[in-house]
Symmetry: C2
Subunit: 199 residues, 2 copies
DNA sequence: TAAGTCATGTAAAAAGTTACATGATTCT
DNA sequence: AGAATCATGTAACTTTTTACATGACTTA
């Protein structure tokens, strides 16, 4: 089993879904911690079915194309359950913006500033969207949010990770931008003996 | 050019390095926002050289095997510089622990708790390590940290991202763990309409 | 003498992205 | 009539990981 398989199972143990709907759920609910294109999802569903983790039934529709609705089998549920508490090996983080930050000393401060302000804005907007969902959950799901055996509790916890993450990211962008913004922000003197040797 | 290429250039514009040393630099300095195995680095260096971004000289050593030391060319520097301020497209985040959190309602609370406490500990430890490097930078590099055209400023900014990230991650783990820990933490009643057991 | 570091590669497999491909129905 | 949504796939390519491969020198 690979991680994508567990992502798919994690959605299917909650409700039966077609490949198409699964993809949409991923975009909406799971996007900030896992995602996949439909070209990855359809073969993955086929693989999970070969391994007995999921099963599908064809649902005929009049006004739309027929669809295959998948649901998790008992085997699938058990496999997922066992995986949840297995230890996690740290995976290397990959973040292009931080990589750019690492080389931003080469760039025009004004252009770098624009980049970080734009990213700050983007993450703040994402944060606001997550916070709206959070409010909605607290309003609609109140009571289930403390129940450790409720999927709503789990959804809420995952969402909070998104909120913590976006808030922190936006703050870092602002921190960098503020330092790029300070006028005169500490350039080396242009034409002195002290050459700007790279270190 | 791919992102790994820019990661390699970002290190080589600071100092010439062999493939072997490049890999070590990645582990030490860049690990929390980009990384690669040596099996990816050596072919990447060859590719960058074909494209005129880097050039190598063979350095002979007596006590150790000879090595190829690479440095960035002017073309490489310019390419990197242009890339830095280009807009960043959001890449899908992938985090296995959050994925597990999403399905933790299936697991035994005690086992899930152990997982999150362990992860909290791990991220707190990483945080402490970063904070030590931060102190070292502030002590040793004081004065350069405000200079927008200094690589030290850029290193410091990237490190701060690591610090923000680890702190936030540890806090989220603690938040989840606390909710898993509360005794009786809101199970659905096992075998009655309303037993005194829960809540 | 065994383990560890220095040093550089290739090969195969897995995971993920982009592009190709089709076709019905619904909304503007 | 054209765009958007619903619906499911395959093919080609890129990126990343794991495994294979070698050899000199150093330290315990």
């Amino acid at each position: 089993m690979n991680t994508l398989g567990y992502a798919v199972l994690g959605l299917l143990v909650r409700e039966p879904l077609s490949g198409y709907d699964l993809k949409k759920r991923m975009e909406q609910r799971v996007a900030f911690f896992w995602s996949a294109r439909h070209s990855q999802i359809y073969p993955e569903l086929a693989r999970l079915e070969r391994e007995g983790m999921v099963a599908h039934t064809v649902v005929e529709q009049q006004d739309r194309p027929d669809k295959k609705v998948y649901e998790a089998t008992t085997t699938g549920l058990e496999t997922l359950k066992d995986w949840v508490t297995e230890p996690v090996e740290p995976r290397p983080a990959r973040d292009e913006l931080v990589l750019k930050a690492y080389s931003m000393w080469l760039a025009e401060p004004q252009e770098a500033l624009a980049l970080f302000r734009e990213q700050e804005r983007r993450h703040e907007e994402q944060l606001r969207q997550y916070e709206e969902i959070q409010s909605w959950m607290e309003r609609e799901w109140n009571g289930d949010l403390e129940r450790r055996d409720s999927p709503r509790f789990a959804s809420y916890a995952a969402l909070r990770r998104g909120i913590f993450y976006e808030r922190e990211y936006a703050e870092w962008c602002a921190w960098v931008a503020d330092r790029l913004d300070k006028d005169g922000g500490g350039e080396y003197p242009r034409r002195s003996q002290r050459n700007a040797a790279a270190e």
